[in-house]
Symmetry: C2
Subunit: 301 residues, 2 copies
Amino acid sequence: MARNNTRFIEAHNKLLTICDKTEIGGTLQSENVLAADLGVSRTVIRSVLARFDDIGLIALDGREKAIQRRTRAGDRLEKPATLLTIEELEGRFLDWVLRMDVPPGTALNVAQLAKEFGVAPHTLQEFLSSLSRFGIVVRRPRGGWVLHGFTKEYALELSDFRTVLELNSVQHLVALAPDHPIWARLDVLEQAHLALLERIDRDYHDFSVLDETFHEAINSVVTNRFVKEFQKVISLVFHYHFQWNKADERTRNADAIQEHLAYIDALRSRDVGRAQAAALRHLATSKQTLLNALQANSHTL
Amino acid sequence: MARNNTRFIEAHNKLLTICDKTEIGGTLQSENVLAADLGVSRTVIRSVLARFDDIGLIALDGREKAIQRRTRAGDRLEKPATLLTIEELEGRFLDWVLRMDVPPGTALNVAQLAKEFGVAPHTLQEFLSSLSRFGIVVRRPRGGWVLHGFTKEYALELSDFRTVLELNSVQHLVALAPDHPIWARLDVLEQAHLALLERIDRDYHDFSVLDETFHEAINSVVTNRFVKEFQKVISLVFHYHFQWNKADERTRNADAIQEHLAYIDALRSRDVGRAQAAALRHLATSKQTLLNALQANSHTL
DNA sequence: CATATGTTTATTATTATAAAAAGCAATTAT
DNA sequence: ATAATTGCTTTTTATAATAATAAACATATG
């Protein structure tokens, strides 16, 4: 076996349904039409038709595809367990890594991990290769991968990089016209922050999501594919680390909300200097929080 | 055949040389020692020894490995044509893409390209996956890759991103102590620029390399893996585009040298504002040059 | 008992191959 | 006649199988 035949099986079962909608003795449409209807290639349709002929469901004769009998439950084929795609893998893998179930420097076992995540080894390999662009994993000289993971240096560099990107966003943001949607969005966010502040004692946990939304909003004003790509990694890392450091979570989040509110205010002033200063203040706190989380989470030098 | 047996052949030939250094009747060292000396696993050594025994070069008897005869020319094994590694592939691929032999939107044929570049299809696949992080290629829904290539938008976003990173570097640079190596390096670069300016009529072509070195130097003061990763892509893109736009190359490069010199001067002033202004001026020119190169190179909307 | 070899197991890179898609040529029905 | 349909061939991709290597463990020997 080489490729999994999910497409064949799906087309097969869909065509069974179509057969049932046609009376006995009636004929099916042309291969081309069926292929277009089911969204697969003619090759697949032909394989399905060949099987239908085999099991006596239809009689193939030239371009005649006459239905011979009703379908039975046994005609249906079982779908094989569908593997994750490379996109779905991203979330699962980062989740695993960022929780630091494994210390930095560990060799990754592609075959075993692939089984664990329910993907083809080859898919994981490919994914690791793309992750290596962010330095989360590195390729070993003679095959294999090593998890570099989230060391203190990594966190520092990531925070710094984040700061560079966000200060740039701020610079763009304050120059935007008053009717730009970002201002309305900031108003909404401000309300959300104030609302959370009122019920902070109970719902301090909700801040993590709000924080992500807030920074995403600020950076959304820059339409740059490189910025966006990094934003994904950055927000993931910060998001997860948020969830670990349980110490002082309530006060920490309350403080952060205040910083966000001051940040929004500064943005509204349209004064680049003031806005960037407010941004820097909050980003510095955020960086410290990330470092503390790392410290708390064992394996960091 | 699965893996290529380069390691086996290398160890084989190296061990032949070792045999020649030992007199007939002498014995080779233990498998462990040989493995450590040649930097391969014991498994490889054992395969080699087994072959040596086969061809009557040595007599294996327990832990005795007695040399029976001198080696002959025919004993040596021919090394198979070594395939490119994924790192070597990067240069070759970007070279191919950036010359825009193919218009944006083209579907990439993995099997064919792999043959062309002399790599395993699987290696190319992995490489494309990592490139997709930079948006140069994108994965198609049901397998396959599409070259997004260097559209005008891509060039604009790349230039903007480059500017963000470099302004950040400048900010760091001007704050560095006078004994930091960067200052001496800038002195050297300044001389190189002046020297090139004198012979610009003849050697205007050399500017491309100098430009790359110059920007690399400036960005080297920031030790950040994300910055560095991007720098690689950025410098490649700019480097290649440099080589196309032949119109006014001499004057364009002469002008750029002047901008670089002013840039160096501004950096020396230690005045962030002045330095960033000079940087911006040059980066804007650079961006325009890139856009012109794209325009000149046919398939851009 | 330390070191060497024999044997087994695990892991990775590459190849071979089945599944799917796409293209072309021949055929049939209107 | 000609448009549509089928039969057959060629390409291309995803995965499974496999050889090469590495590593681990067990046994033997000086």
